[in-house]
């Protein structure tokens, strides 16, 4: 049993090492001076010195028409990538500049004054980047050559007018990294995992930015899934948020995001889930109205705004069917259910409810709930409606203050 555990630990360590050493998307990449390149190798430039060797040498472009030099800096990559030395390739990286096309001194790109000729390398898929360091190359870089000169470039030596040699020969190393490191897995932010009381129907999903290790531009893909309702996926999102179409209520959604650079994507972030809880909500924005002094048989209504109608707003996140009733009669001499007290529905915001099925004409106020608004919307700028009131003072009504209580009832039909 102990032996089995040791094996498991060892295998785990090896796997972990491999994962760390070769991150997803990275190409195996190497270069060396050879008399001629193999079929699967690509020449970067040719070199020769005055003793026909490859160190302390002058350089020649691969496409120079003169006699080919003795040594070629041959580069190879793994089976999943392809190398190309064409400087017109959009994805190319300039590895070194040359003073002329043959018998040339070399220069680090960026040194001034810039040489006119370049030795390039492009990797596909992915990209290549090079660093020039006065030490050995970093762990994720491959040393391909070294250069030296006695000329200073902005206080730095070996950067221009240099001879070229094998990687170990001079101090200034030409280090290149083949392949691409994808951006890290995004960190999800909103809606939080296991949030079962999200309110808004159009959710703006948010996550933290992923910074690409190679400095490549990053875009994101989002995947939102639900077993019964419409699932969504979107790609090429260049911001760290995305607003969905209207989602279902009382259904658990899963969501995740991945980050991509132009060559590869991260893994999907761990899936989070959330639920938009259905919420029925009603607010009476104008909650009282006062008809002032009236005489017997006088008729007044709220359609002109004086006095104001009740203003009813759906403050939830689901449509409501709204009914209306009075808790008590208004007059001493006239009960509910006749024309002395009537109500009707009116839009405050256009399209707030279904005018075809709502109570659009004056109807008698009842002691039991009766139709008012059908499908009162919850969307902003479309969720507010008026309840108009019409009263006629009965001819025999005695003097005094008359009041009543009205109740609106909202119901989500599901």
């Amino acid at each position: 049993m102990a032996r089995a555990s040791s094996w498991a630990v060892a295998v785990g360590l090896v796997v972990a090492f491999l994962i760390l050493a070769f991150p997803a998307g990275a190409a195996v990449f190497s270069c060396e001076f050879k008399a001629s390149c193999a079929a699967n190798e690509t020449g970067l430039l040719r070199v020769v010195n005055n003793t026909n060797g490859s160190n302390n040498a002058h350089a020649q472009l691969m496409n120079d028409s003169g006699t080919a030099y003795n040594y070629t800096l041959c580069c190879a990559t793994d089976a999943t990538h392809v190398l190309n030395n064409n400087c017109s390739n959009a994805n190319r990286t300039v590895v070194l500049n040359l003073s002329v096309t043959e018998n040339a001194h070399v220069q680090v790109p960026g040194a001034t004054p810039a040489y006119n000729y370049s030795a390039c390398m492009a990797l596909s898929p992915g990209n290549m980047s090079c660093a020039y360091v006065n030490t050995t190359c970093a762990a994720n870089y491959t040393g391909i050559a070294s250069i030296a000169s006695s000329e200073s470039n902005n206080g730095l030596y070996n950067m221009t007018n240099a001879h070229i040699a094998n990687y170990t020969f001079y101090t200034l190393s030409v280090c290149c990294k083949g392949g691409n490191s994808p951006p890290p897995v995004p960190v999800l932010v909103y809606p939080a995992n296991n949030n079962y009381t999200v309110f808004e129907r159009n959710i703006t999903f948010q996550w933290q930015a992923s910074t690409d290790p190679d400095g490549d531009p990053v875009n994101y893909s989002i995947n939102i899934t639900q077993g019964t309702c419409t699932s969504y996926n979107a790609a090429n999102i260049t911001t760290t948020n995305w607003t969905s179409a209207e989602l279902c209520v009382d259904k658990t959604y899963n969501w995740t995001v991945k980050a991509c650079d132009p060559y590869a994507c991260s893994a999907w972030a761990g899936t989070w889930n959330f639920t938009i809880q259905s919420v029925a909500g009603l607010t009476l924005l104008v909650n009282n109205t006062n008809f002032g002094s009236l005489n017997n048989s006088d008729t007044r209504n709220t359609t002109g705004g004086a006095p104001p109608p009740f203003n009813c707003q759906n403050s939830g996140n689901v449509p409501l069917n709204v009914t209306f009733k009075a808790n008590s009669p208004l007059y001493a001499t006239s009960d509910l259910g006749n024309s002395t007290w009537q109500y009707k529905a009116r839009e405050n915001q256009t399209g707030a409810f279904d005018t075809g099925t709502s109570q659009m004409n004056w109807t008698n106020v009842s002691a039991s709930y009766a139709n008012l608004f059908q499908g009162l919307k919850y969307q902003a700028n479309q969720n507010s409606a008026f309840i108009d009131i019409l009263i006629t003072v009965p001819a025999t009504e005695p003097a005094g203050v008359k009041s009543s209580v009205v109740t609106v009832q909202g119901n989500y039909s599901g």
Binding site: T197, G227, T228, C229, T230, S231, A245, C248, V249, D250, Q277, S278, V279, A280, G281, L282, T283, L284, N287, N288, T289, N290, F291, G292, S293, L294, N295, N296, F310, S315, G316, V318, N327, S328, L330, Q349, T350, G351, N381, Q382, I391, V393, E397, P398, A399, G400, V401, K402, S403, S404, V405, V406, T407, V408, Q409, G410, N411, Y412, S413, G414
Partner: protein
């Protein structure tokens, strides 16, 4: 009524009656609550499991500024229990959680096959308000307990959407098996123009749906020619085997929009006259595949953005792809001469959605400048020319008379 008549009335025996009539209904008040509250979830669906006890929470949210007396009752065949059923929420207490407990009967015959509805009524009244002057808002929470039907019984909802013109159309058929038997459901959909012309026939695939459970059929369709902005129709049909009645088909319909309706609005610059009503000719070219009832909202404002006047046109049917005239009339207030701005927004009359907008310059002209006066030199020249003309004519007349005289 003169002073003499008024004095007569004051001393009349009917005066107390007149006063009484004036006093009738001195104040007719309707006072409803200042209540604003919410309940979540608005509905709950459970599937019958004999003898089990289901418990879930209901959130009562006070989103207003007043304390609320909350009263909760349950009515229906399920005898749900809500606790607490009565409480007061202060204005500061945003959310109160109550528990709903449902003891499902062991005897299935106590329930009808299908949905059994228990209505939980939540009434909120402003706390401390006198009954006569208080008001209430009531919200219903529907608790539905499904006792599955015998066999398979599929219900569904069809949804179709395309975020913008040229994007794939996603068709989703959400399905629920309200029966107790598992069944395999196959679906297909057609997409139609508003005129009923079939544009595509799309297979939605198959799904195995267990009894009293949910699933969906979802498919994306990328038309060879991108759909133009407009309203379209999707019809879906499913087919499944119900052990009780055999092969069964059901159909569903949904309308959907590709993009959103818009209109190109054009308004000419006009000159306004203070105190008059100006007619503003507006044209709106609708980019949509069917007519929309639209209207224009017109606002006159000064350079500082202050609203000076506003009006709306009557609702007019905007024809697809054509320029439709909308005549607006703007009441021009007494304005100083100068430059003003007209903001015109064309709206979908049914939904209030903005279709398009335009701005135009409006100029209020100053008083008419007097015509330039002729200079003295011009006046002299005119006078001399007139004298010469008169002299010439006089000479001609005299000469002719002399010729006629014998």
């Amino acid at each position: 009524m003169n002073q003499k008549q008024r004095a007569k009335l004051l001393h009349s025996p009917v005066f107390p009656l007149v006063l009484l009539l004036v006093f009738i209904a001195t104040s007719l008040l309707f006072i409803s609550s200042a209540t604003a509250f919410q309940v979540g979830p608005a509905a709950k669906r459970l599937t019958y499991a004999p003898g089990t006890v289901e418990t879930y929470t209901l959130r009562v949210i006070n989103d207003g500024s007043a304390a609320l007396d909350v009263n909760i009752t349950a009515a229906g065949p399920l005898d749900a229990v809500v606790a607490p059923a009565q409480f007061t929420m202060s204005a500061e207490e945003a959310v109160r959680t109550v528990t709903v407990t449902l003891r499902e009967p062991a005897d299935a015959s106590l329930l009808v096959p299908g949905d059994n509805l228990e209505t939980i009524t939540i009434t909120a009244t402003p706390s401390g308000a006198a009954g006569q002057f208080g008001g209430a808002v009531t919200l219903l929470h529907n608790l539905v307990l499904l006792r599955p039907y015998e066999g398979a019984y599929i219900i569904g909802t069809l949804a179709a959407a395309a975020p913008q013109a040229g994007a794939p159309v996603t068709i989703t058929l959400s399905l629920m098996n309200k029966g107790s038997a598992s069944t395999s459901v196959a679906g297909a959909a057609v997409v139609l123009t508003p005129a009923g012309e079939e544009m595509a026939n799309i297979g939605l695939g198959e799904a195995e749906i267990a009894g009293a459970s949910e699933s969906k059929l979802q498919q994306s369709w990328s038309p060879a020619t991108p759909l133009q902005p407009g309203s379209y129709l999707a019809n879906a049909t499913i087919m499944y085997d119900d052990p009780a009645v055999g092969r069964t088909t059901r159909s569903f319909t949904a309308s959907f929009r590709v993009g959103r309706p818009s209109a190109l609005v054009e308004v000419p610059s006009i000159t306004l006259t203070p105190g008059e009503i100006a007619r503003l000719p507006i044209t709106a070219r609708l980019a949509w595949n069917q007519p929309i009832a639209g209207l224009a909202d017109v606002r006159l404002q000064d350079a500082g953005g202050t609203l000076l006047s506003s009006s709306r046109t009557p609702t007019t049917t905007l024809a697809p792809g054509a320029s439709t005239p909308l005549a607006a009339y703007v009441e021009v207030p007494p304005l100083e001469p100068g430059d003003y701005l007209l903001l015109v927004t064309v709206l979908d009359a049914a939904t209030g959605e903005e279709l398009g907008s335009a701005t135009a310059a409006a100029r209020v002209a100053g008083a008419a400048a007097p015509a330039p006066r002729p200079s003295w030199a011009t006046a002299y020249a005119i006078a001399i020319a007139a004298l010469i003309l008169i002299s010439v004519l006089t000479l001609l007349l005299l000469r002719r008379r002399r010729e006629r005289e014998p």
